[in-house]
Amino acid sequence: MKFRTGLLAAALLGLTAALPAQAETLRVGMECTYAPFNYRTPDGQMAGYDVDVAQGIAERIGVDLEYVCQEWDGMIPALLASKFDLIVASLSITEERKQKIDFSIPYRVSIGRILGAKDAKLMLFDDAGQPIPEAFKGLRFGVERASTYSKWLEAKLPEAEVVYYDSNQSMLLDLQNGRIDIAITNPMKAYLDFLSKDDGAGFEFVSPAIDEVKYFGPGVGVGLRKGNDELLKRIDKALAEMIKDGSLEKYSHKYFPFSIQPENWKGVD
């Protein structure tokens, strides 16, 4: 009996302790395998630029977060099916996606670049920075399914021999193994965990920065289901604060030797 009373008291205490804060919990969808944007550290903690941004927003709007790991090609369907409430997963703000979901203001740049072997001496773009379709003949071109890169690729090079991947890691692995000749991906990420490592020693960027707003949008934003205007306003306000007080800039430099903010973006080489 004594034990039960103790338990009850503890439960009541827990309840009253939880009540005043009344923190709402938002579930955040991300891949959890997209270092350094969102990934798990060896001890199982979530980390990365997206995670920092999500955490920064949560502190400013006063909510608790719960992370949900979701494969990339099911990210938007999972949000629509209410598996989580926000996408903070390096999701670019595009017109097509905006028809299904709402976006916050951008919190980093959205840019693609093509990787290829140094030996191949590829000349794929003209002086105006546009792809030369003939130059891509006979090249196997890797891209992530459902990415902004795939939209750009399908629109600009409909004849290209495209190989679709479910994850960035498997694509870079096949590039190293020689199953594909070139691959389009995020240059910040490619620089950090491929080109600056042994694995990527024989590779380089073989394209200029590709960032046409039509395909890449104004940047990467937080995604929400439509009809959450009040929450969207709170998130936009928090992000604007974080841009102003330099938090986003600080987060960039935690992972990259350069800024990934639209205002301060100078490219990678």
Binding site: P77, L80, R145, V163, Y164, L173, N177, G178, R179
Partner: protein
């Protein structure tokens, strides 16, 4: 969430673009797997331990591990050996198609050899003794008595394996192949509508399975045409 029936209809022809590759994977890996299965069966039924044990180990390994893992080992694992990437095998293993065919064939061979062994063991010993009494050679007994009866006994289980193989071809989508599931996943990525698209894919798989089942019913009927049905 709204459900869009029209989307099922419009996505069907797109998914059907992957039908050729699905059937190709099914037929090629089933045939290669059957050839391999017969070899393993002969080893497994042999009197020599040095033939029996490798066959047993093979069956244990391929039945005991997930097909997806086997496919990943072949597709991602093998190229880690630089030697292989410069060998004569690389032109084959470079292709996701051949990696998938090899994985499917190796896997099904393990199951089929056991299905066939079940058929062989089911043949009445008395019939083989009768063959001996008539003076048939060992080869004649195998080709005239054991094989036809064993095949007849194994057919129902074998049709099961073919249906299972059809579904296994969907795993090829994980190594970049655009068979039906690969196409479906790509359309989902564009439309953000998983229910409608995967239901369309489901319909096509069910129709294919119906064809396989019907074909096997006919084959079984033909194989058992001498058996009087009471």
């Amino acid at each position: 969430m709204s459900f869009d029936f029209a989307l099922i209809a419009t996505s069907l022809p797109k998914i059907l673009q992957g039908l050729g590759l699905t059937l190709n994977l099914l037929v090629v890996s089933t045939l290669l797997g059957l050839l391999l299965a017969v070899g393993i069966l002969l080893m497994r039924l042999s009197q020599h331990a040095w033939l029996v044990w490798p066959a047993k180990a093979y069956i244990y390994f391929f039945r005991g591990t997930p097909l997806l893992v086997q496919l990943f080992i072949i597709y991602y694992g093998l190229p880690q050996f630089g030697l292989l990437r410069h060998s004569f095998l690389w032109p084959l293993l470079r292709e996701p198609y051949w990696c998938s065919v090899i994985a499917l064939a190796l896997n099904t061979a393990a199951y089929v050899s056991e299905i066939l062994r079940g058929g062989v063991l089911g043949v009445d010993k008395g019939l083989i003794e009768a063959g001996k009494a008539l003076g048939l050679t060992k080869f004649q007994r195998a080709s005239r008595i054991t094989t036809p009866l064993a095949v007849r006994l194994a057919l129902p289980a074998y049709s099961n394996e073919i249906v299972s193989m059809l579904k296994s071809t969907a795993l090829a989508s994980t190594v970049t192949l655009m068979e039906m599931t690969g196409v479906a996943r790509t359309i989902v990525a564009d439309t953000f509508a998983p229910y409608e698209i995967f239901i369309a894919a489901t319909i096509i798989y069910l129709v294919l399975v119906w064809f396989i089942q019907t074909a096997f019913t006919l084959i079984e009927g033909y194989a058992n045409r001498h058996v009087r049905k009471g």
